[in-house]
Symmetry: C2
Subunit: 204 residues, 2 copies
């Protein structure tokens, strides 16, 4: 049995019901920690489920951010330093990663508060998360304003990747499952994916 | 042991190695079939791993498309009808869904060629995939041109949802696991996620 919802039905939903319904509707999402640094040296790490692959040459990844109607440290710090990091989340740290979503006061570093470890390289002024098996350093490339709701699509160019060697396949795939990388549905449901198969390139 | 890649290292990679490396780098993705209809009545269905949640009120989802340097039926049909569908992919149909990525000739419907079943409602001029437990109908809302590589972000407004009743939680979550919904890493590695936990709203 199928249930049908019209746009009017969705707009009439109670706020948190609609949030969870729409957030879980379109499938699994990546769970990532976004690392940023303020000009005053404050380390920020925040969980995002909205990282998007945009292209391989040049290597580009996107990040959808909520409207700037309230202060957004991650956005402010990306703009201030022109860079940010994307860090994978494993089964071992997903509860700490989720906890970075709490509204800490401005003096508190989410990394410290959640027991995660910052790691810097010479390539960029943003912290990686030491516990993450995949660490991606990016320069801000462009941003797009979604007119329909005020969200921002941040596009970053990958300038550095640190990846645990055991994850790399001979063909270039990062084997996420070898690091117990988690996926997320909506804002709060965490999953451990199990490989079904690697398919061949499809031909008619 | 970590391996480090600079931007220069990535640009120097062999083409397919870089494609798979960058496509798998940032984590799991949703697997969805995009349904569209041409003005001549041709039914199109194509697998995409780039659907993105954009907002709940109004309900908005995004779809990243490759540059229009070669003909893109999905894009052309979305523009022609101003609408499209997003359909979930389960373990039962993921091989058929993957096969829709093959370059069929212009006369062939991917739905017919892969044995999937079109389903129409009165709400929009695009086919749903009958086998999908979650079917989302959208109107084209806006599009954004990614300057760095020519990709397009298509933003659609959800105007209809058909969801198997057994998937809906009391709180509004769509329980993807109840339909054996798959996730994908890169372009070819399919996964079946297992629920680890549903976390509470994080507080300091």
């Amino acid at each position: 049995m199928y249930q049908r919802f019209s746009l009017a039905d969705i707009m009439d939903m109670e706020r948190s019901y609609r949030r969870d319904f729409i957030n879980t509707l379109s499938g699994y999402k990546p769970a990532n920690l976004i690392g940023t640094l303020s000009t005053t040296g404050r380390l920020n790490a925040a969980i995002f489920n909205s990282v998007l692959h945009i292209g391989a040459k040049p290597p580009l990844l996107g990040l959808l951010m909520r409207p700037l109607t309230v202060p957004r440290q991650t956005y402010d710090y990306i703009k201030a330093q022109n860079c940010f990091t994307i860090n994978s989340v494993s089964q071992e740290i997903y509860r700490q990663a989720h906890q970075t979503g709490a509204k800490y006061d401005e003096e508190t570093s989410e990394l410290e508060a959640t027991g995660l470890t910052p790691l810097f390289t010479d390539a960029l002024a943003a912290p990686y998360v030491a516990e993450s098996a995949v660490k991606i350093g990016l320069e801000l490339e462009e941003e797009h304003h979604i007119r329909a709701n005020g969200c921002l699509l941040i596009v970053g160019k990958v300038i550095e990747v640190l990846v645990a060697e055991s994850l790399l396949s001979d063909a270039g795939h990062v084997r996420l499952e070898a690091a117990d990388t988690v996926a997320v549905s909506g804002l709060d449901r965490y999953f451990l994916p199990r490989l079904l198969s690697q398919e061949d390139y499809p031909r008619p």
